[in-house]
């Protein structure tokens, strides 16, 4: 938000996504707003079912279906991705906005050579000859760290390891130099050493092309590694958003406290039990009134019953840090200090 608006790549305002199911209407995404600037990595974190993947898929138009309803806007430059016609959407996806999916084992067509699959994308957007496209693909494969790229061009997905396949997916996403890259849990299906390598590839990409990256993940370790800003999602809403340092060192929302409290830290004495947030995320068919975290929040009271707005934090701190908790900042600071003292930030962990 401090960046000049010319660098603004993606402007999502009040995005709502709901799906009609047999059990009722699922409000998967509920008034989500965020912005992405060039060269920035925005991490959307949350538990499974918090709506983070649906948000990401919606930006690609991949949630469109007869059962889905949308509201709000998601502007990629001039184009509103929510309301774009199919042909407009097709023209930008893979070209200006590209996506890396969670599971590299199933996200590539098993019966086509990987090189062909990338060439297909380039030729869908650019008028290039087969030979030129092929050279570009070999270059891309080298760029994402695939050894012997020229030979690998002709490999089938099943001949590559998971890490290599994810590199192929990234090479594919980069093939038309997108300005926005959406990575939906890009490292979740991979083992830890490979995760680090994939993150390195994403970092290099950001440096090189100045693309903006939306990183969807539940892995706070990954977030700490690469993100500039973090949006914390809970039950379809963004409950807190701010710079990575702000979220990690000055979290304001009790849900964020719980989320951070549930990671082990080597610089603190280890608690006897790994803290967790008691209770379960609410049903998105009949969400709780007011704050969605209210039923699980140890600090909830009557003020939490009206629908919480995304509030700019009162009093000091870095600008742009917002959260949805109505508690007074002084009270939050007091609770956090108390939590730190007993080694727990999530107040309810001992219940």
């Amino acid at each position: 938000m401090t960046a000049p608006s010319s660098d603004l790549l993606l402007d999502v305002q009040d995005l709502k996504v709901s799906f009609a199911t047999e059990e009722g209407v699922v409000q998967a995404v509920d008034e989500v707003s965020f912005q992405l600037h060039a060269g920035e990595v925005l991490a959307i974190v949350g538990e499974s079912g918090s709506g983070k993947s649906v948000t990401a898929m919606t930006l690609m138009g991949l949630t469109r279906s007869p059962n889905a309803r949308f509201a709000g806007t998601a502007r990629l430059r001039r184009l509103d991705l929510v309301r774009a016609r199919d042909d407009e959407l097709r023209a930008v996806r893979g070209e200006e906005i590209a996506m890396v999916f969670q599971d590299p084992m199933t996200s590539l067509n098993p019966v086509q050579r990987i090189g062909r699959q990338i060439v297909e994308q380039i030729q869908a957007h650019r008028d290039v000859s087969g030979g030129e496209a092929r050279d570009q693909v070999v270059g891309l494969l080298e760029r994402v760290g695939i050894p012997r790229a020229r030979e690998r061009f002709g490999s089938y997905p099943h001949e590559l390891s998971g890490g290599m396949r994810q590199r192929v997916m990234i090479a594919m996403a980069l093939s038309c130099d997108p300005s926005v890259l959406i990575a939906d849990e890009p490292t979740t299906a991979l083992d830890v050493t490979i995760q680090a390598q994939i993150l390195q590839v994403l970092k290099e990409l950001r440096e090189r092309t100045n693309a903006g990256i939306v990183l969807v993940t539940h892995d706070l370790g990954v977030v700490a590694e690469i993100a500039d800003r973090i949006a914390v999602m809970y039950a379809g809403r963004i409950v807190e958003e701010g710079s990575t340092d702000e979220i990690f060192y000055n979290p304001q929302h009790p849900y964020t406290w719980g989320l951070l409290g549930s990671i082990t830290r080597v610089d603190r004495p280890r608690p006897a039990r790994l803290p967790s947030i008691p209770g379960l995320p609410p049903s998105l068919i009949t969400p709780p009134q007011g704050c969605h975290f209210r039923p699980r929040c140890p600090h909830a009271h009557d003020a939490c019953l009206p629908r919480p707005e995304l509030l700019a934090r009162l009093g000091g701190g870095e600008s742009g840090h917002t959260d949805r908790c109505v508690m007074a900042p002084a009270r939050k600071a007091q609770l956090r200090r108390a939590g730190e003292r007993i080694g727990l930030v999530a107040g309810g962990a001992t219940q």
Partner: protein
């Protein structure tokens, strides 16, 4: 690949040997199956029967009979017991008819099955899907002899649009006459398969369409048409190719007995049916081997094509 072919050829020989032995044995134990008895006629004397047995070698042990019969199959000297005609000549006469029926019908049912399968999958759940599904089930359930007889009677005999059965040589009657004679048999034989193929393809497509790589294809910015043809249909057709190869092999080997008979095409299948009716061992044995050959051959081709279409499959040994 070389070893694969060698193994398959060896396998084919084993299958054909087993099939021939079984066929031969079955016809030896069938009641009323004694060929000498049947050849001698109703009012024959034991002396006449004994003479025939000696002449045809029916007095020899069964394995000797088997060996001489098999030898004649391969030298082309096999003679029908029922009417003393050359079996190999009869089969040769039937092959163009059977092949014309099999190839034409197989192309029709593959094309129609694919088109209807794709159409119903794209409209899954809508009225047109239900309608085509019902029609496909009717097609599957209709017996060939009934449908064939209806078509032949109304379109052939009554309206005279098509010839009332029979086969026309291209060389003698010309291409158009040949096609006119084949349209009804092709359609009737294909009807059954179109129903099956469209149903199988429809469910394959509906499975594939939710696969992750189809989502990837959309995310690449491909046109919906390209996503459907290159990713969904391409992958959904692989099992259909297998099915088609096996069905085609069976029909090519004379399996379309009912269709050939209803339209009096005089193909290998019809010859087979008539020979069984007369308990005529030599043609039955020869046609069985003929059919087994095509089924095993198409099986092998299907395996090779399958490996080419799906690189995850390797031809083992």
């Amino acid at each position: 690949m070389g070893r694969f072919v060698v193994r398959r050829v060896a396998g084919m020989l084993v299958v054909m040997f087993a099939v021939s032995v079984l066929t031969f044995l079955i016809f030896n134990v069938i009641p009323n199956g004694d060929p000498a008895d049947r050849m001698a006629g109703r009012n024959s004397t034991p002396v006449q029967i004994a003479a025939i047995e000696r002449e045809w070698g029916f007095d020899k042990p069964i394995y000797t009979q088997y060996l001489t019969t098999m030898e004649k199959v391969f030298t082309g000297d096999l003679i029908s017991y029922a009417n003393q005609t050359s079996v190999v000549e009869e089969i040769k006469r039937g092959i163009p008819r059977t092949f014309a029926l099999a190839i034409g019908a197989a192309l029709i049912w593959l094309a129609m099955g694919t088109a209807l399968g794709l159409y119903t999958a794209m409209r899954a759940g809508r009225f047109s899907d239900t309608l085509v599904t019902v029609l496909a089930l009717i097609g599957i359930s209709m017996p060939v002899f009934w449908l064939g007889a209806l078509a032949s009677y109304y379109l052939g005999f009554k309206l005279g649009v098509f010839p009332n059965g029979g086969y026309a040589e291209i060389g003698e009657a010309g291409l158009w006459e040949w096609v006119k004679h084949m349209i009804l048999p092709w359609t009737v034989l294909a009807t059954l398969f179109v129903g099956v193929y469209s149903r199988v393809l429809r469910s394959n497509i509906l499975d594939t369409i939710n696969d992750d790589y189809v989502r990837t294809a959309r995310a690449k910015g491909l046109t919906e048409r390209r996503v459907m043809v290159h990713h969904v249909l391409r992958n959904s057709l692989i099992p259909i190719v297998t099915l088609w190869g096996l069905d085609f092999g069976a029909v090519l080997g004379g399996g379309a007995i009912l269709t050939e008979t209803v339209f009096d095409l005089q193909g290998v299948g019809q010859y087979f049916a008539e020979s069984i009716g007369q308990l005529d061992v030599p043609p039955v044995l020869a046609v069985t081997l003929f059919g087994a050959f095509f089924i095993v051959l198409l099986n092998t081709i299907v395996d090779i094509v399958y490996a080419a279409l799906d690189p995850r499959i390797r031809l083992s040994r």
